[in-house]
């Protein structure tokens, strides 16, 4: 390949050009703006529907408003009230329990599923689609379907448990069972998505590494522990961050599954925010303050996950 054609329009004088010709400068200038033009429509939507409401929400958190039209400044009053509210701390406890259980169970099952799918030679596509299917369902529908299945008296699950002599557990009536069901339904919904991300990570690992391990006599377990998992760590970090954010944001399927009950035991922070904002008595300022607290928490935990992950990768 001729090196002189590397710069379009450069005169073939045998000497390198001293500066870019005018047409090249114009093209470069166009090229500099092109990416911005491509992302502009999306950025505009993001600015109008995400950034602006977020800034506005932060602003409103310093006011008291019951109708969204008249606002009374209260300084940090909303934050003081939330942080001194027993109900809020109860909701925080439930949220932490949910997020920890959801993330741990999701990470373990999604990794196991990805390893199995990766090892599967036949029907991998069909299995992948089957596990991904719940991701395509509306969370509201997921909540309703599992609500019917777990209903104590006539639900599908208890029809089976009663037939085999296990009685009729109150899956959505007992606070501990209700939280367990909420976590498992959440995992069921998102498992396929995270398994798919991990599967793509597994398929990115160089096959020669496995071949070398096999020649060295490594067992399957040793291969997974010493080769697969360390090389999969960057993808696992992505899944860890995404599942943590999803856990903190969980609301819609829980609202239709348990409504936050029994007696508030599955009410998480997003439902708390929703109820403050849209149920009587309306407290937009308080809801916005809780939203800001949630944002700061998610941002902090995500940053921590990211930094710890980066440090381990470096090691």
């Amino acid at each position: 390949m001729s090196t002189t054609t590397a710069v379009a329009g450069a005169p073939e004088t045998g000497r390198p050009p001293t500066g870019p010709p005018p047409r090249a400068t114009a093209a470069r200038s166009r090229n500099r703006w092109a990416p911005w033009l491509f992302v502009a429509p999306n950025m505009l939507v993001f600015l109008v529907f995400t950034i602006w409401p977020a800034i506005n929400g932060f602003n409103i958190s310093f006011y008291d408003s019951r109708n969204g039209r008249t606002f009374t400044p209260v300084g940090t009053g909303n934050y003081t009230r939330i942080l001194g509210d027993d109900e809020f701390w109860g909701v925080v406890r439930h949220t932490v329990v949910f997020v920890v259980a959801f993330v741990v169970v999701t990470m373990v099952l999604a990794t196991a599923l990805a390893l199995l799918l990766n090892a599967q030679q036949r029907g991998r596509g069909v299995l992948r689609a089957a596990y991904f299917l719940p991701v395509l369902l509306s969370p509201v529908v997921v909540g309703l379907i599992w609500g019917w299945a777990l209903e104590r008296r006539v639900g599908l699950v208890n029809t089976i448990t009663e037939a085999i002599g296990l009685g009729q557990p109150g899956w959505l009536i007992d606070p501990t069972l209700a939280m367990t069901c909420t976590v498992l339904v959440g995992v069921w919904t998102h498992l396929g998505f995270y398994a798919l991300i991990l599967l793509s990570g597994l398929q990115g690992i160089d096959g020669n590494v496995y071949e070398a391990a096999r020649l060295d006599g490594s067992s399957t377990w040793q291969t997974i522990r010493l080769i697969t998992l360390p090389l999969l760590r960057p993808t696992m970090l992505v899944v860890l961050i995404l599942s943590t954010i999803t856990g903190f944001q969980a609301f819609d399927f829980i609202y239709t599954l348990t409504g936050g009950g029994p007696t508030g035991s599955t009410t998480l922070i997003v439902q708390y925010i929703y109820e403050q904002a849209f149920e009587s008595p309306i407290r937009y300022g308080l809801a916005s303050a809780a939203g800001v607290i949630l944002f700061v928490t998610i941002f902090g935990i995500t940053l921590l996950n990211y930094l710890l992950g980066r440090r381990q990768e470096a090691v």
């Binding site: 008249t70 348990t258 009410t267």
Partner: protein
Amino acid sequence: MRSTLISGLAAVSLATTLAACAPGTSESGSGADAPAPSGSVDLSSFKGKKITYLYFTDGPDEAATRSLLKEFESKTGGTVDLQIVPFADLQQSLQARLSGGNAPDVARLADLAPFKDELMDLSGVVGADYADQFLAGPATAMKDGDKIIAVPNDLTMNGPFVNTDLFEKAGVPVPTKWTWDEMVAAAKKVQAANKTEAGIAIDKSGHRLSTILSQFGTTMVGKDLTNTLDEAKATKAIDSLVTLIEDGTIPKDFWIESGSKYKGANEIFLAQQAPIYISGNWQVAQFADAAKFGWKAVPNACAERCGGFPGGKYTVALSQSKEPEMAAALVQFLNSKESQATMDAASMWLPTRNDLIEGKGVTYPDRQADMEVFTADVGETPEDTYDAVASPAFGASATVLVEEFAKAVAGQQDAATTAKNLKAGIDQAIADSK
């Protein structure tokens, strides 16, 4: 690194600048609205004009409303754009439209408190003594000082229904008047004889629980935002209900599952799994269609007091209306004696006008006797229940009632603690409403 720092600082400064701007308007004023109409209204002056009516429907009332609007249009030569939204979206939808300066001219509302500052004073059109045309109870919420801000369009009354087939099979006579203890005894006997899932079904609703509180002698809020809960009486009411739940007369799961969200127990009654169902007159139209068994409305049981618990909807005109006179005229037209009689008969509603309660009243095309049971209970219902339901703090107090009651049902607290927590919750609701 430097550019990242600059971008970060720019973003922070932008956010801080924007955050420094006060959102919306201050409490002192809410913009330049059209002046309230006054003087006599000439209907022909509305020719060619158009107003919007934000509405939610309970079902059979929609056709009757459309028919009345056509009549109004033919009388005035104007147009009314009926905009129907689901009840669940009504409050948010109206709040958003008010914020955007795009409010409807007229609206049908169940809760006036969040919109009180946005409602038009109708007294200039309907007259200062207009409230006298309405029952004293529903009229409580009509006035804000000297202003007339809303007109009660339909009255609801909580009360029980019985499955007469199940009562007959159990050999228990259908009551024409009964005490709380007699109702419980009848429920248990009919439940045992028919092996139904429950003896009494009651909607999961703070409004419905307020009926029981009232029958045991107390309400939650009173006039001038006072906390009227009598803890001893509330404890007795809660204890009675929890006992009935523990012995299986009232279904337990129903009260614990689905959080504190409203849930109707009509499906239990329609499936003939409870011989008694405590709900309200709005179920009459539904049961007339859906019930495949004998049923009838019966009077509320008396404990310390008799009667049910009221509710209702209001027709209002919004201050943002560009056609305030036409909006006020529509509100007045929809609540005239003739219009209310038409609406009530078609929709199985109870009237709010004195001239429709007194004398012959409303003639319903079906289930006249059942509607008369509810009408009779209007007279038995204590006045303080109207003060309670008209209070801006009622909605929030009702939510606390359901939440605290569910804890008692789950065995997390006794009735006395429930009543104590309820009292504290009502205090908070009142503070939030001021």
